[in-house]
């Protein structure tokens, strides 16, 4: 029986505020609270709340036959807790049904997997803890930030105990192979690699509202027919959660589409399952090798959207250069800044490939984003130095006391 996995990526990055050089040394609040509250509450109102309610009603109706999967990072959980706690409540209700899977990811939606193994592990652990605390379930499947994956990242997650990982079904990795099967990782071949079917996923996110598309309007029946007609055992549709209500607003009919989808799928003799469930049911049909990092971004499906120019590389290396100092200070306020400074979005806004087109950036240009980020990072670095300097004499006197 062909399995359909629905994975929703929920991510609300914390936006940095406009931070001038003159603020350095004086102002240590780096976040734009107004923008963050607005974005969170808008997403809650237009997407999270109506979609959660819809999923709940379908789960009840189908009595165990409808399952979905969420990837929600720690920063997003914090944002929801601060600005829209009712979303977290509805998520908890969903978790209780047993039909909803929560996937492991990085706590800060960070790019740590590309530079620092120990930080990556720390983030994955922190995220697991947050999911267990919030939803009472433990993630078994891993999906890295922006679906970033390589053989090395697969090995790291396998070592952490995740025996299944979800990544992009990138054409240059697959070649003639189909994304609709379970594969084995190249290093640890016991790890199962699940692949996102980008065509069917992007049809929902980017084409659903597009009236110029020759398949418009997309009905649940037509979509189920495409899934039925595709070769393979597990069709993994992985989309940003904002597909429902934000990218495609309610009048587009996206919620009606979701409502009709379960009957259309089940009626064609297919089933829904979680990523974990599908990976258990289906055997790997081959080994998938991926020496260079891939992601779900752009045509290239690589990581150059975040680390593609000298601005991004400089900011990234300066950020991780502070790691030892953050560990030394080990103060919750500083750890929080360290967490949100690692968000992939910070580097995405510095990308030069957009050249004026909107990439959702709150900044005028990649240069503007870079200057703002570096001002904050510099102030953060100075504050860390001040903390360490303040700590030193204390520890020395302690040592002196011990010697006496």
């Amino acid at each position: 029986m062909k399995t359909v996995c629905l994975n929703f990526q929920v991510s609300l990055p914390m936006t940095l505020k406009r931070y001038r050089f003159f603020s350095m040394g004086l102002d240590h609040n780096y976040l734009d609270d107004t923008a963050n509250r607005y974005a969170t509450q808008r997403a809650a109102r237009m997407c999270y709340l109506p979609m959660n309610a819809l999923l709940m009603s379908i789960i009840k109706e189908q009595a165990g036959k409808f399952k979905v999967s969420f990837t929600i990072d720690g920063i997003t959980i914090e944002q929801l807790r601060a600005w829209a706690p009712e979303v977290l409540d509805s998520m908890k209700e969903l978790a209780k049904t047993g039909c909803v899977e929560f996937v492991g990811t990085t706590y800060s939606h960070s790019l740590a997997s590309l530079t620092d193994k120990s930080e990556f592990e720390k983030q994955a652990k922190a995220h697991k803890k947050a999911i267990e605390k919030e939803f009472g379930v433990s993630p078994k499947v891993f999906c890295n930030t922006e679906l970033i994956y390589s053989d090395g990242i697969g090995e790291m997650t396998a070592d952490m105990g995740y025996n299944t990982i979800l990544t992009e079904g990138a054409r240059h990795i697959l070649g003639w192979k189909s994304p609709n099967y379970v594969y084995a990782g190249a290093v640890n071949q016991r790890q199962k690699v699940m692949l996102r079917n980008y065509k069917l996923s992007d049809d929902l996110t980017f084409k659903f509202s597009c009236k110029e598309w020759n398949e418009w309007p997309l009905t649940a029946d037509k979509y189920a027919e495409w899934i039925e007609g595709s070769t393979g055992e597990t069709v993994n549709v992985c989309v940003d959660y904002s597909t429902f209500g934000l990218t495609n607003e309610a009048p587009s009919g996206i919620f009606e589409f979701v409502k009709a989808l379960p009957e259309a799928i089940i009626g064609r003799g297919m089933e829904f399952d979680t990523l974990e469930g599908s990976a258990t049911k289906h055997q790997p049909i081959g080994v998938l090798s991926c020496p260079h990092p891939i992601s779900w971004a752009d045509e290239e499906r690589d990581v150059t959207a975040w680390l593609g120019n000298e601005l991004q590389n400089e900011a990234f290396s300066k950020l991780y250069g502070l790691k030892a100092k953050v560990a030394k200070v080990n103060n919750p306020d500083f750890n929080f800044v360290w967490s949100f400074m690692q968000q992939a979005s910070n580097f995405y806004y510095m990308s030069s490939r957009w050249l004026g087109t909107s990439n959702g950036s709150p900044f005028d240009s990649s240069y503007d984003a870079f200057i703002n980020y570096m001002n904050i990072l510099s102030d953060f670095g100075l504050e860390l130095d001040a903390q360490i300097a303040a700590k030193k004499p204390a520890s020395r006197s302690k040592k002196a006391a011990a010697e006496k």
Binding site: G25, I371, L377
Partner: protein
Amino acid sequence: MRVLMFGWEFPPHIAGGLGTACYGLTRGLARNDVKVTFVVPRAHGDEDQRFTHIVNASDIETDFCRRDEYTKEIWENLSYISIDSNMVPYATPEEYFERREEWLKQRETSVVQDSWHQRYTFSGKYGANLMEEVQRYAMVAAEVAKAEAGNFDVIHAHDWLTYYAGIAAKNVSGKPLVVHIHATDFDRSGAINPDSPVYQIEKAGMSAADKVIAVSNLTRDICINKYGIDANKIVTVHNAVRFASNTPDYGERGVKQKIVTFLGRITFQKGPDYFVEAAAKVLKRLPDVHFVMAGNGDMFNHVIRRVAKLGIADRFHFTGFLKGDDVQKMFAMSDVYVMPSVSEPFGISPLEAMREGVPVIISKQSGVAEVLDYAVKVDYWDVDAMADAIYALVQYPALAGMFGRMGYDEVTGLKWNNAAAKVKDVYASVLNE
């Protein structure tokens, strides 16, 4: 003595040092009993008018039908000058692009028309249609000269943008013309291009003038050697600097580490590249010094990329264009000020820094180097010497203290009153001729 003065900008609406210098000069002239009528495109209404009488060029009506011979001649003489966007003298790129976008959409400057007369509205900002504005300004200048006839003895024009206006006013009124060279095309582009319309306007202005005032000997030499102007006609009057009598409280300084500042337009002329390279050299030895580049310009993005590439972005900060109090605040926060200009006719910014007791490093290729003793002078291209001087001023408090103290005394001795008295002498000399 009464002067009809043509400028392009006046505080608080300024894009660079020209407006500041004009303001200081008019104040100094007022103290020397010289009455100034300052013509500026688009007066905003909030200029300080205690010392000058500002005529808004946009308020002067130009009658198209009854053009007299002079304005007609100017219109005809200038109309062939093609609009060359590379010749924008100084403006932030934003202003430039905004103006250009607008211009590309409309293909003309906005002209306010009513049924009784035609009235030109100036953008008051530099843009791609600058040449057109220079022409129109000249036409209006002739009207101003007619309207103000009998109210002035001398015409004084600042920088090339107003030279045609000065010539037009001279033709209409028959009064002597003094042109004031604050910067030349040679400074801006680093070479003489005889085909450049700016060069031609500059040369025409200097030739038509009865006397030429240069802001430094450096500039005077350029006028003689590159423009072929008679040396006897050119007088050097160094700029001065005007300070508010009380310095405001800028609040607590956030960064405790040493701050080395560059403040100015980020363009080829100002040598921002050399500052970056010197910063990288200093940071190799002293990783805790902070460098600030304040300003904006066409090399902004280039400089940011270079800073990122050198890996010093956590010690090298950008503020963007600073306005009003923020400029003085930036000087007050600095421990060392650097002006690495490739070619600077005068350069008023180091004086503002010295007024805050900040030791300065200036390039030998600047006019201000002629009047300062208590400033470190280096060749703009000598980044090793520049790095060396920064290191010394940051590391040795005795040296920095000496430069700060002596520099303060030196700079407070540079008075616009004295400069204005020299300008008044120039006026007297052309009136006697």
